[in-house]
Amino acid sequence: MPKPAATYDWPREIHRTLRANAVRQVSYVPDAGHKRLIELCHGDKRMTVVPLTTEEEGIALAAGAWLGGERSALLMQSSGVGNCVNMLTLATHCAFPLLMLVTMRGEWGEFNPWQVPMGQATRDILERSCVRAFRVECAEDIGANVDAAAKLTWNTNAVTAVLIAQRMIGTKTFETFEEGP
């Protein structure tokens, strides 16, 4: 059984893995599931953190970073994958290495029906767009998966996505919303 997220600091493990793989630029459109990782990256002087208005900017940003010799990772939630589709051609056609970390919505105990269509389509859309997807269900597996994706990304000029299951992130974040108006 996967442990509840509260017992394992998986965002710190992701941050440590990004650091170990020399990721210098981190861009994001916020997601509640990435809240702690975003804070860790902002607190890291060796990382240049770039908040985006839409996820596709992060794909173009990563291409520019690589032209300039830096590694870039992109954080988003699954709805953001839909915003990326055409821009992914920049990464896949030119073989720009790109690592995406995607927190999933619309799959495990989701309360917002508007999240479901994109959440259900996320993996298919990525794979049809030539992105290699790794799925993580269990918090303890995150470091190994992010590291494997990072190695594939920068050793083979690949575009990869680590999909972080909604079950793993936990429902607590969303209960806050459910209690709201």
């Binding site: 291409a63 970073a65 055409n86």
Partner: protein
Amino acid sequence: MSEPEILRRRDVVSALLQRRGKLLVVTGLGSPTWDCAAAGDHPLTFSLWGAMGGACAVGLGLALAQPRRRVLVVTGDGEMLMGMGSLATIGARRPGNLAIVVIDNERYGETGMQKSHTAHGVDLAAVALACGFAGARIVRSSADIAGVRAAIHGRRGPLFYQVKVKAESLPLVMPPRDGAWLKHRFREALLGDGAMG
């Protein structure tokens, strides 16, 4: 009253890229890519043939990775309109070494010369200024081009110039179209031995 001057896009781009030195250049898809190729292909020009709306964000990633080099994005009004959010993203980071030149013919030149939003009064320079750019303005006179070129090389950014040009269809001048090759060429020219790392 004399007739207002009408700038020609190839003259403008050619003048801006004269004696470019160590300038790093990203071109937005369509006519700006052809304009930059007409001015002379260069290993430190990365030409986009697609990725509409992404030119400025490519420039931002490059400017952040290479803070000691000047970075110029040359793009068109249609491409810029699709990526207008990236002006806010650049405004929030304020890289001092990044300049954007929009060659604004107020048309979608590759698809039949349909009018773009700038033909209806949308002021991209005002948007850039509102996003926190250090300098942003519309350029209409050839007398101003030398000053724009000097600013690209030396003035603290981010800078934004919206250069109004004649709506004209010109012969295509195409740079190499293989993006992976353009990427390797650029990285080798900029990073040398580090390019394969």
